[in-house]
Symmetry: C2
Subunit: 327 residues, 2 copies
């Protein structure tokens, strides 16, 4: 373990033990078309096939599984409009603890319904809605946490969350062998920091690349400046990467273990979504296409290399997905 980082390889390995039999061991898929087009040997880790449709379940479950008995009894609180909400709600249900999820009133109805489904019939569990234009979700979260003694689990800047996310890359390398390069999408940095620790632990010499939306390249800027850069909420269809800044813990890992960050445009994400639908018969959400788009659309040349690409999730409103495909 590199000193001063929040997690080391042993933490990811321990998370994998906790997650065994609970997460889906998602497949690593290949495509002759992709290999011919890129000149590389490419393995897609399909977290769009993960429980609740995204890798986020790994980190959430790992964090909740480490709660002490009193923490379990009081339960967990989280705020998120996206996959983290569902991940916490499902993990709490599986571990039998109360969960409060603070979500914006205007969150996608499908995500509200899925989260509500996981919480249903669990005493002490609820969704708390807020108005994102007039209310401060962090204040709401802190107040409920204090009142009910609940533990707040943030979406990325938390050692147990990061270690859990790293188990996807660990499985990939166990399944397909050592990699020369690993491409991972970057929002707050939870997935890529766990992945980088896992990959460097199991595949010495690997180079880990992050991929952000062009419109929201805060981590690319942060690595260049050597300090965390804050940006306005970026306009991009990659809703999982609309973060304004990465975390302190994830930034330190990225500084130590990530070779660089590439960017792709929304148009390239749509092209990549279409490729996955047409050729690999998979639905991948825009954020889930970031890493693949960098490779397929030529942002990086990895000819002759063994390349892992994390597809982070598949949770997309299907009517919106259909509109993107129709162009």
């Amino acid at each position: 373990m590199t000193p001063n980082l929040a997690i080391g390889f042993a933490d990811v390995a321990a998370a994998a033990g906790r997650l065994r039999g609970v997460v889906h061991r998602t497949p690593a898929r290949t495509s002759r078309t992709v290999d011919e087009r890129t000149g590389a040997q490419v393995y897609f880790k399909c977290e769009n096939f993960q429980r609740m449709g995204a890798f986020k379940f790994r980190g959430a479950y790992n964090a909740l599984a480490r709660f002490s008995p009193p923490q379990r009894e009081a339960g967990v609180i989280a705020f998120s409009s996206g996959n983290h909400a569902q991940a916490i709600a499902l993990s709490a249900r599986l571990l039998g603890m109360p969960a409060v999820i603070v979500m914006p009133q205007d969150a996608p109805p499908s995500k509200l319904a899925a989260t509500r489904g996981y919480l249903q019939g669990r005493s002490g569990s609820e969704i708390v809605l807020y108005d994102r234009y007039t209310q401060d979700r962090e204040a709401i979260g802190r107040r409920i946490a204090a009142e009910r003694g609940m533990t707040l689990i943030p979406p990325f800047d938390h050692a147990d969350v990061m270690a859990g996310q790293g188990t996807a890359a660990l499985e990939l390398i166990e399944d397909v062998g050592p990699l020369d390069a690993l491409l991972v999408c970057v929002g707050g940095g939870g997935l890529i920091s766990g992945s980088a620790v896992a990959a460097h632990g199991r595949s010495p010499g690997v180079r880990v690349w992050g991929v952000e939306p062009e419109a929201g390249n805060d981590v690319q800027q942060s690595l260049a400046r050597g300090e965390i850069v804050h940006i306005d909420t970026p306009r991009t269809i990659a809703d999982g990467a609309q973060t304004q800044a990465c975390g302190a813990l994830t930034f330190a890992v990225m500084q130590a273990l990530v070779s660089g960050v590439l960017t792709v445009s929304d148009a390239q994400l749509i092209e990549t979504m279409r490729f996955f639908g047409e050729r690999m018969k998979m639905v991948v959400e825009p954020t889930g296409c970031l890493a693949a788009a960098a490779l397929l659309e030529g942002a990086i040349d990895l000819r002759g290399q063994r390349v892992g690409v994390l597809l982070s999730g598949g949770n997309v409103d299907l009517a919106q997905y259909a509109r993107w495909l129709q162009g």
Copy 2:
């Protein structure tokens, strides 16, 4: 082997040997939502992830792999507007033999392009286009076969094709264990006859159910009458099941080994396509949804049973797919 049937279990097992390392061993996927909704334990065999996007590759390759040296030299001819064309073209390419594919002028551009791609640069290989309103494709096929000494491989009524198709069900049972029931789509009967032979060979007591589009239930009628019934080309979005009649060889196997045939509507196919996109993040073509639709939409009650469901393919025009999803 039941006497008088074109194939027995040994033929499917031999086909599996020929196909090893050539076909993808496609995953068997599960869904908690499906299990809860049906009360069964359901395993989806994902032939939408097969090479060229459908199970048809299995039968075509198995048939071509059994050619004698003179047959290989002269090559293969097939007529099809759909997945069989691509399956023969790809198999011929892999086995290094010439192939002529007779396709209608108005076949979907994506299927023409894919077939052309497989034939490209292979001497003696070509696509022959015909006008389906004025020309007889069988006459064209017979003439070319006679002139060039090519062997005609039909899409379903052929022992080697049927045996090859059976390898998907064989893999499924090897991977998940014995089944109580197996649901399979029915067009000409190639997939279900091979599947029934494989399933009865490896999973004694299994009941095999066919599923046809409501608008084209020729096999349901044929089994009821005890003779092959011919119908007009049915109007259904399940283009792989728009057959007017099954084959003599496939009918005999179905009479012996299939418990019954269910039907589903186009609206139920679209619901099922949406379910796969939304919940299982997969693109499944309408024909590929037939077997699943019967179960998910309640045409059969298999509560308490271990159920295999074959998803036959994922080759659908993505713009059309998007229109169906938008409703």
